[in-house]
């Protein structure tokens, strides 16, 4: 029940993007992938979804190499959410969500009863039933994100990999999305999300994986991974730590530590 990268090294267009990545992820956990811009977070996500092949090392799902699985079999087990490309045509929300069933469908076949049920479940879960017939250009950012998330959930995969699922959302929708991702992991799926908001990541994730300069620099429970020393060294920030009224501990990036290893320019 694990998705693992073994000694992975990725070289794209002559540049080393990731090196020495060893990571074993378990289902049932919500993992936050954090790091400064250009650290290789999205590339790691693409490696785990088998969208790019590592130059060296391998990625396994329950011990079997991802590269040895058929595309459809892989797609049924690992769902990925990328928002960068947007939605190219004014399709209805329901049509977008239905795309998640493609790996389950046979050529030229329509939607089966199981497909319909999975689509309805995903739309109910993200609360977009009322948007079913709306088309892309009329959706707000929050609605669009929920539609795309429903698309990914409709796959019904064991793994959900999400690239910056809460970026560009207002605070209410950020909280909703994070709670939803955590709920999905509680239902037994493995959830991995690239996150920029350290406060949200520390609060909602079970485990934090920190990347910097293409290497894994910390990995553990939020309070263990996001130490003051690491935050200063990797992110160049100091944080305020406190306890919310409900007893939850939280962190808040507060100031520049001034010792940032210029990673923005060096790596992007």
């Amino acid at each position: 029940m694990s998705l693992a990268a073994h000694d992975v090294r990725v070289v794209l267009e002559g540049r080393t993007i990731l090196s020495d990545i060893g990571l074993t992820l378990e289902r049932g956990h919500f993992v936050g992938l954090v790091g400064p811009n250009g650290a290789g977070k999205t590339t790691l996500l693409r490696i785990l979804a088998a969208l790019v092949a590592p130059r060296q090392g391998r990625v396994t799902l329950d011990g079997h190499a991802l590269s040895g699985m058929s595309r459809d079999a892989r797609a049924r087990r690992i769902a990925a959410l990328f928002q960068g490309a947007g939605i190219g045509w004014p399709m209805t929300v329901r049509e977008i969500v239905a795309l998640g069933r493609l790996p389950h469908r046979r050529a030229f076949a329509g939607l089966s009863g199981a497909d319909e049920a999975a689509i309805a479940r995903a739309m109910a879960r993200t609360d977009i039933g009322h948007l079913a017939d709306r088309t892309e250009p009329t959706l707000s950012s929050g609605e669009r994100m929920r539609a795309l998330l429903a698309r990914a959930l409709a796959v019904g995969a064991e793994w959900l990999l999400a690239d910056e699922p809460v970026t560009a959302l207002d605070p209410a929708h950020q909280l909703d999305a994070m709670a939803l991702l955590r709920a999905v992991s509680r239902d037994g799926a493995g959830v991995v999300a690239v996150l920029h908001d350290l406060a949200l990541a520390a609060r909602f994730c079970d485990r934090i994986v920190v990347l910097a300069g293409g290497r894994l620099v910390a990995d553990g429970r939020p309070e263990d991974a996001l130490t003051d020393a690491l935050l200063a060294r990797v992110f160049g920030v100091t944080v305020e730590r406190a306890c919310a009224a409900d007893g939850t501990r939280y962190i808040l990036p507060w100031g520049r530590s001034g010792s940032l290893e210029d990673s923005d320019d060096a790596i992007t």
């Binding site: 990925a80 045509w89 399709m91 998640g100 739309m123 109910a124 698309r151 796959v155």
Partner: protein, 348 residues
């Protein structure tokens, strides 16, 4: 659990409605194509008693009306449908794949390369010695273009790389065509080439139909097979790949399918512009924006447009006859301008 079911029920019903609407649109278009083909057989310059000629044909009597029907009218009607379907289908597939509503079947340079192939045959004087030399040259041109593009696509080049290669190929083929015209030994040969390039379905034979039909059928099959992939690509290449779409395989099927369908179409009819660009836009309001759902209707609507334009050419008895490509461009260009203006208005 109750709430989602009740909120989803009406949308499911509406969706069933759009699916039914799509089937109705497809059935209606197919009927119109049939009707236009029959009209195309019935209408021509020489008055022919079509039922009598058909009876002669069936009975095996080689009368003049039967010959006109079989050698001229039937091929023209069939080619109109085949070429139109190819242009409409390829236009919809290109727009869907490139996620660009301004893409047309010729965007990857296949049409220009096919035209160049035919022009080279013209120029070499082969056309006079063998009636099918011209279309064969066109098909060879499209084949070379497809090989180049596929070599690029199989190397995993980006979509942008494919478009740029197409634009390069298109300009190169255009330049070489101009060179052939420039060096043309006499003005009449140049005029003949120019006229041929304008696109026409007149004086084609059943041999032309038999030459392009199998190529087109394979091309259509390849392009229809990428319908689900086109839907998935609406969310970008990464998401499509995560849904099990083989990006290289889709590119190769698209390029090969377009080369077979449009290449053989240009080879038999010359360049007929704007059909493939315009038709998907006409279909989207009727069948929805999902690119995969737009393929078949666009093909049928392309056939309707080309058959109608070809009927118009014959009914408008001008001297010399208007070229088909000229008519489709005259109708298509204002539509394109309207489309651009509306898009700009929509964004402002």
């Amino acid at each position: 659990m109750n709430a989602p079911v009740t909120t989803l029920a009406p949308s499911a019903a509406r969706r069933l409605g759009t699916m039914r609407a799509r089937r109705v649109v497809i059935a209606l278009l197919a009927l119109i194509v049939l009707a236009l083909m029959l009209a195309s057989v019935a209408i021509g310059y020489a008055p022919v008693d079509v039922p009598a000629a058909a009876a002669d044909l069936v009975a095996g009597r080689t009368t003049l009306p039967a010959l006109v029907l079989w050698e001229l009218r039937v091929p023209r009607a069939l080619l109109g449908g085949l070429v139109g379907f190819s242009l409409g289908l390829t236009g919809a597939a290109m727009q869907g794949y490139l996620r660009n509503p301004l893409a047309d079947p010729g965007i990857l340079g296949i049409s220009s390369a096919a035209a160049l192939g035919a022009v080279i045959v013209f120029y070499g004087g082969l056309a006079a010695s063998l009636s099918l030399a011209l279309p064969l040259g066109g098909i060879a041109g499209a084949g070379v273009a497809a090989l180049l593009l596929n070599a690029l696509a199989a190397r995993g080049s980006s979509t942008l790389g494919l478009i740029l290669a197409g634009i390069g190929l298109s300009s190169l083929a255009g330049a070489l065509t101009a060179l052939a015209l420039n060096l043309s030994p006499n003005p009449y040969a140049a005029l003949e080439i120019v006229f041929w390039l304008m696109g026409s379905l007149s004086d084609r034979s059943l041999d032309h139909v038999l030459l392009c039909l199998p190529l087109m059928l394979v091309g259509w099959g390849l392009m229809l097979s990428i319908a689900p992939a086109l839907d998935a690509l609406t969310l970008g290449e990464d998401t499509a790949a995560s849904l099990g779409v083989g990006l290289v395989s889709v590119r190769v099927r698209l390029v090969t399918g377009a080369a077979l369908a449009v290449g053989s179409g240009v080879a038999v009819s010359g360049a007929i512009g704007f059909v493939g660009l315009v038709v998907p836009h006409l279909m989207r309001p009727l069948v929805g924006a999902r690119p995969g759902a737009n393929l078949l209707p666009s093909g049928l609507a392309g056939a309707v447009l080309v058959l109608a334009a070809d009927l118009g050419v014959r009914l408008l008895a001008t001297r010399p006859e208007l070229k088909l490509g000229v008519v489709t461009a005259l109708v298509g260009a204002p539509f394109l301008i309207a489309l651009l203006l509306r898009n700009r208005g929509g964004r402002a």
